[in-house]
Symmetry: D2
Subunit: 352 residues, 4 copies
C-alpha cells in the first residue's frame, strides 16, 4: 500500500450518526450493571433515564432504540386518530420517518414553512391550528425540531420554542420537540438543555449522533407521558432486555460529550469558510455542526460533487439537487478538517 | 303570519348540496327497477354506472353514498401504506375528510399551494414527487380537485389537468380527480366531462350537489380499478341493497341537469356583481356557482355577516375569518337571486 | 315463451336482502319530505331515527347505508386501539366485514364459540375478558349477534343477551348488538325489540333484509354514543344528503313489517319440514327465517346442490361444504314455498 | 446482614429473559468493531446477521431490538390489509404483542387451538384457511411458535412444522415461525435450527432469552424478505446505529450457547420432578426449560403461591389462575435448582 492510498483514508462527514463509541464508552459497556429492562430492572437504563430527566428538567424519561421511535411514540401518545399535527415542511418527521404519523397514529400533517427559521413563529402556529368539527377532529400536536437538520443545523432559541409552544398551548395543543440534535442547539445558544424542554410537553434527545453514544434516544416528559410512552414502545417493538450494555455508554454521551460539541461547531465554521472561498461554491457560516454547500454557481450537481469528493477522500451527502451536506462530529478533529478542505480544493481545481 | 314573515322564506345559498330532487326524480325513484346491488343485480344502479362510465369516457364506474367515500376509496386503491399523496393545500380531501388518507390508507399528504389556480402546475407536481428510499416509499398519488371548492369554484381546464397529470404519470404516479363539481367545470369550460377524465386514472363525480340528485357520487376508472374499488366500498360499509331507488333519480341528474348549470353560473355572476357593488364588500366574478365575498373592507367578520344575512333571509356560510361563501344551484332561480341581493343590501345599509 | 319457462321464474331464497320495496314504500319515497341530512335537516331521516330510537328504547339512533358500517362504527366508538373484542366465532363481523375491526379500529378479535347458542354464556364472556397490562390494553368490546346468521337464524332470548352483557358490564366492557335480524328475534321470542336493546350499549337493526326497506341500517344508543357515531359515519363516507328518499320507505319497514316476519318463520318451517322429508337431506326446524340443509347423507356437496336447485328454479346459497342455506322473506309467500319444495324434490329425485 | 438474608438471594426463575451477559460477551462488546448499521456498515451486526442466516439455513437475516418487532415485521411483510392470520390460540403474538397484527398490519387473527401440541395439525391449518372474496381478502399468514411458551415450552418437531407449513403453502399462504425459543426446540429435538427453518418463509430467533445475549432477535428468510423487512424495521423505529456493541455479544449467544440449553432442560425436569413430589402440586415433565405447576389440588391460587415462593427466595410467575411458571436458564445451575426446591418445599410445608 503506497502513501497515496494511506492519505485516502476518508474524512467521513456524511453524518454525525457515524460517530464511534469512545474507549470509555466501551469500558462502560463492559462493566455495566444490567437487568431485564422490560421488568424495569436494568440499573444502567434506569440511571440513564434518571440522568436524562435531570438534564432535560422533566419528571421522567425513557430510553428507546432510535429517534424515529421516539418521535413516533410521542405523536401516538399526544394525538387522537384523525387529528392534524403541525410540522415544519422540511422536518425529519416529514421526510425520513416513512409517513409514520399517518401509519402509526392516523394523523394528518399540516406542514408550515418556517423559512430561514428553525421553527414556525407564534403567528404561523396560531394560524395553523384548526378547531374540531364534524369534518375533522382538530389539531392534536405541534411538532418542532431543534436544531433543524434539513435547514443546515439551524438553531431555535429557547424564546423561539417558547413562542411557538405558547401559541399551541393557548389553543390546547400539546407540543413535542424532536431534539435529535438539541444538545447542539444548547451549546450554540449557550443554555442548558432544560431551557428548551421547559416549554414543551415532550422532548427527544438523540445520544448516538454528535454525543457519540453507540445506540439510542431518550424521550422525556411528565411521569404520565412516559408511562404511556412505555406502552407505545412495547407496541412498536422497542422493549429491550439487558439494555444497560448500551445505556451505560449512552449515559456517558450525555454527561461528558455535550460541551465538546463547541469544537464541532468551530470545525463546521472552519470548513464552511474554506469551502466558501473556493470558486463556484457557497457555504454560509452555520451555528452548529452542519455545513450546507451550494453548488449552483458551478456547473455541477450535488450527486456528482459528492461522488468526486468521495473519490478524493471526503464523504458527504447530497441534500438537494445542488446542495451538499457535510457534518462535523467528534471523530473529525481540526487536522482532519484541514485535510478535507485540501481534498475538496483538489476536486474544485481539477474541474477547471 | 304577516307578509314580512312570508317574505323571509330564506334563499338558501349555503351549498349546492341542499338541492332538492325534482318531481321527475321522485317519479324515477318510485318506478325504479331494483335488485340487490351487493349481488350486482340492481338494474337502476347498473344503468347509472354504465351511464356514468359513458359520460366520463371510462371503462367502468361505481355508485357510492358520498364523495368522501369516493375519494377515500380511490386513495386506498391507488396507494400503498407509507406513501405520499400530493394534494392542493386547501382541497376537500385535506380539509373535510377527517384525515382519511392517513386513517384509511396510512398515507401522508404533501400539500402544494396552487395559488390562484385550481390545480398545481406541472412544475409543482414534478417538484413534489419524491422517490422511494429506506426512509419513505415514495409518492403514491396525485389528487386534483375540479372545480376547486375552497378557492371559490375555480375551474381547471382540461389542459391544466393534463399538464399536472402528465407530470405525475411521467414519474409513475397515478392521478385521482376529485370531481365533486366536475360538471360545473365542464360547463364553464364548454367541454364534455370526458375531456377531464381522459387524463386521469380515476375520477369522482358528485350527483347530489349542483346536479340535484338526492344521494350519491360515482367513481370511475378502468375495469380493474373499479373492481378493486368495489371491495374497498364494502370495507368502508358503502354496499347498499336496492339502491336503485336513489340511483334512478341520480341518473337523471347526470343525463338532464348538466347543461343547466350554466344558469347557476350566470346567477352566481349576477349575485357577485350585485354584492361587489355594495359598500365594504368585494365579490369578484366567478367562473362557476360559488361566490366568495370578502368582508375585510367593512368592519365585520364573516361569522357576523353570515348571521345578519340569515336574519335577513339569505343563508350563506363563513368560509374564512373575512370570507363568506354563497352557492347558487337549481333551487334558486334568477328572481330568488334578486331577492337575495335586496336582502343583503338591507344588511349592508343597516350597518351604516 | 312456453309454460315450462314460465314455471322457472325462480323462487329466490338466497337471502332476505333480496326483498323488494313495496308499492307503499315507493310511494313514500316519491313523497318524502327531504333536506340535507349532513346538516341534520332531512325530516324523513330525522323521523326514521326518532322512530328507531323509540322502537329500540334508546335515546337516539343514526341511519347508515349498511349493516357493516353500523357494526364498524360501533366498534370504533366503543374501543381503543390495541384492545380485544369478544366475538362469536362465526359471527358476521368475523366472517363478512373484511377484517374491519382490525382495519378501522386496530382491534384484535377474541372469538368465542357459542356452540348451538346464538350468543356466548356469561361464563364464556367472563372467561374471555382480559385485563389491561403492558402487553395489551384489555378487552374493549363484547359484540353479540341476534339472530345469529351463520348458525341458521338462531335466536338469543333477551335473558341470554342480558346474561352475556352483564358479564361484560361487570368488567367495564361495553356491549354492541349486531341486530341485522333483530326483528326476527323479537318476533320469534314474542317480545318488543327494546327487550334486547335494553341490555346493551349500542344496537344495530338492518332495515333492508326481512323488513323490506330498499337501503339502510339504524344504529342506536345513548345521545353521546350517537353523536360520536355520527362523526365516524362521516369518516367512513356514510354521510348522505337528501337521504329521506330511502329513509321514508325504511321507516315503513320498521313500522309496518315487523309483525309479518312471523309468516316468514312459518314458511321457513314449512320448507325445512318438507326438505327434511326428502331422502339424503336433513333440515332441522328453525326459529326464524333461515333454513339450513345438511347434504352430507347424500353424496352431493353444497355447491353442486345449489347449482342443481338453481337449474330447477330455486335459488339458495352454499354455506359450508355440505350446508345449504335458504332464506324466506316477504317476497316469497306460502304458494312459492310449495313451488320451491316441488322443485327441490325434482332435484333429489333426478339424482337417483 | 445475617446468614438467613444471604440465603435469600433469590433464585430467579421468572423468565429466561433475565439471563445476564457473560464476561466473554461483555468483552466482545468492549472490543466490537462497529459502524453505522443504518448505512449497513456495522461489521459486528453484519457478522451476526450472516451467522444467523447460516445457522438457520436462510439466504439472509436481520437484527432487531426485540422479538415483538421481529414478529410484527414478518406479519407486515407477508400480509395485505384485511387478510387473516392463522395463529395458535395461546401464542405470543395473540397474548403479548398489543394486538399488533391488527394495529401494524390491519390483519385479523384466526386462532386455532392446537390442544396439547405446539402447532396446529395440517388438517387444522387446511380448515382454517379461507379463500378471498368480496367479504374478505383471504388468509395471508400462518404464524407458528416453537417452543410454545404458554403451553410450557412445548416442542414442535420439524415434521410437525413441516406438516402445518405444507398445508399452508398448498393454499398459497406464507408461514412465519416465531422462534423466540427455537434453540430450545432444536436441542430438545436434537436437530439443527435449520431443520425447522427449512419449512417456513421467515423465522425469528430470540438471542436474549436462554441464549443469554443482552439484547436482540434475528429475523431470517430470503434476500427479498429481509430487504423488505429492513424497511419495516425502519418504520417501526428499530434502526440502530453502532449496534455492534450488542450484536457482537449476541453473536456469541448464537455460536456458543445453543448446546448448553440441554442443561437448562435437565434442570427443568429436575425442578418439575421435585415439585411434582410435593403435596398438592403437580408439575409434569417438560421437554425444555419451562416448568408449569398446577396448584389446583392445593387450596392456593397462582398469585398467592408466587408471592409465597418469592418470600421464600424463588421467583416465578403466575401464568393462569392456578398455574405457575418457572423458567430455567443459564444463570441457574443445578445447585440453585436444589436450593429452589428446598425453598418451595418450605412454602408447601408451612401451609399445612
Ligand atoms: Ca454514533
Ligand atoms: Ca342534493
Ligand atoms: Ca331489501
Ligand atoms: Ca331427510
Ligand atoms: Ca438476557
Ligand atoms: Ca404432587
Amino acid at each position: 500500500m503506497d502513501e497515496t492510498t494511506a492519505v485516502r483514508e476518508p474524512v467521513d462527514l456524511r453524518s454525525d450518526t457515524v460517530t464511534m463509541p469512545s474507549d470509555r464508552m466501551r469500558e462502560a459497556a463492559a462493566n455495566a450493571p444490567v437487568g431485564d429492562d422490560v421488568y424495569g430492572e436494568d440499573p444502567s437504563v434506569n440511571d440513564l433515564e434518571a440522568t436524562a430527566a435531570e438534564v432535560l428538567g422533566t419528571e421522567a424519561a425513557l430510553y428507546l432504540p432510535s429517534g424515529t421511535m421516539a418521535n413516533q411514540t410521542a405523536a401516538r401518545v399526544h394525538t387522537e386518530r384523525g387529528q392534524e399535527a403541525i410540522v415544519e415542511t422540511e422536518s425529519h418527521v416529514v421526510r425520513y420517518e416513512n409517513a409514520g404519523f399517518a401509519q402509526h397514529s392516523g394523523v394528518q400533517i399540516r406542514p408550515v414553512d418556517a423559512g430561514d427559521r428553525a421553527v414556525p413563529s407564534a403567528a404561523q402556529v396560531a394560524d395553523a391550528v384548526i378547531a374540531d368539527d364534524l369534518h375533522r377532529p382538530g389539531t392534536g400536536l405541534l411538532c418542532l425540531e431543534n436544531t433543524h437538520n434539513a435547514k443546515g443545523g439551524l438553531v431555535a432559541t429557547p424564546d423561539a420554542i417558547a413562542a411557538a409552544a405558547e401559541a399551541a398551548h393557548d389553543r390546547d395543543v400539546p407540543v413535542h420537540l424532536d431534539g435529535a440534535r438539541l444538545a447542539n442547539a444548547a451549546v450554540a445558544a449557550d443554555v442548558p438543555l432544560s431551557a428548551f424542554a421547559a416549554h414543551v410537553d415532550s422532548v427527544s434527545l438523540c445520544l448516538s449522533k454528535g454525543l457519540g453514544a453507540p445506540v439510542g434516544t431518550v424521550l422525556a416528559g411528565s411521569e404520565a407521558f412516559v408511562a404511556t410512552a412505555r406502552g407505545v414502545r412495547k407496541l412498536l417493538g422497542g422493549g429491550m432486555r439487558q439494555a444497560g450494555l448500551i445505556a451505560a455508554p449512552a449515559r456517558l454521551a450525555l454527561t461528558e460529550n455535550v460541551a465538546r460539541l463547541a469544537d464541532d461547531h468551530a470545525n463546521a465554521n472552519r470548513l464552511a469558510a474554506g469551502i466558501d472561498g473556493l470558486d463556484g461554491l457557497r457555504a454560509p457560516a452555520r451555528e452548529t455542526n452542519v455545513v450546507l454547500v451550494d453548488t449552483s454557481e458551478s456547473a455541477i450537481d450535488a450527486e456528482t460533487f459528492v461522488e468526486r469528493c468521495a473519490d478524493a477522500g471526503v464523504l458527504g451527502s447530497a441534500f438537494g439537487p445542488e446542495t451538499v451536506r457535510f457534518c462535523t462530529h467528534l471523530d473529525v478533529d481540526t487536522a482532519a478538517i484541514e485535510t478535507a478542505l485540501e481534498r475538496i480544493e483538489t476536486v474544485v481545481r481539477s474541474r477547471r
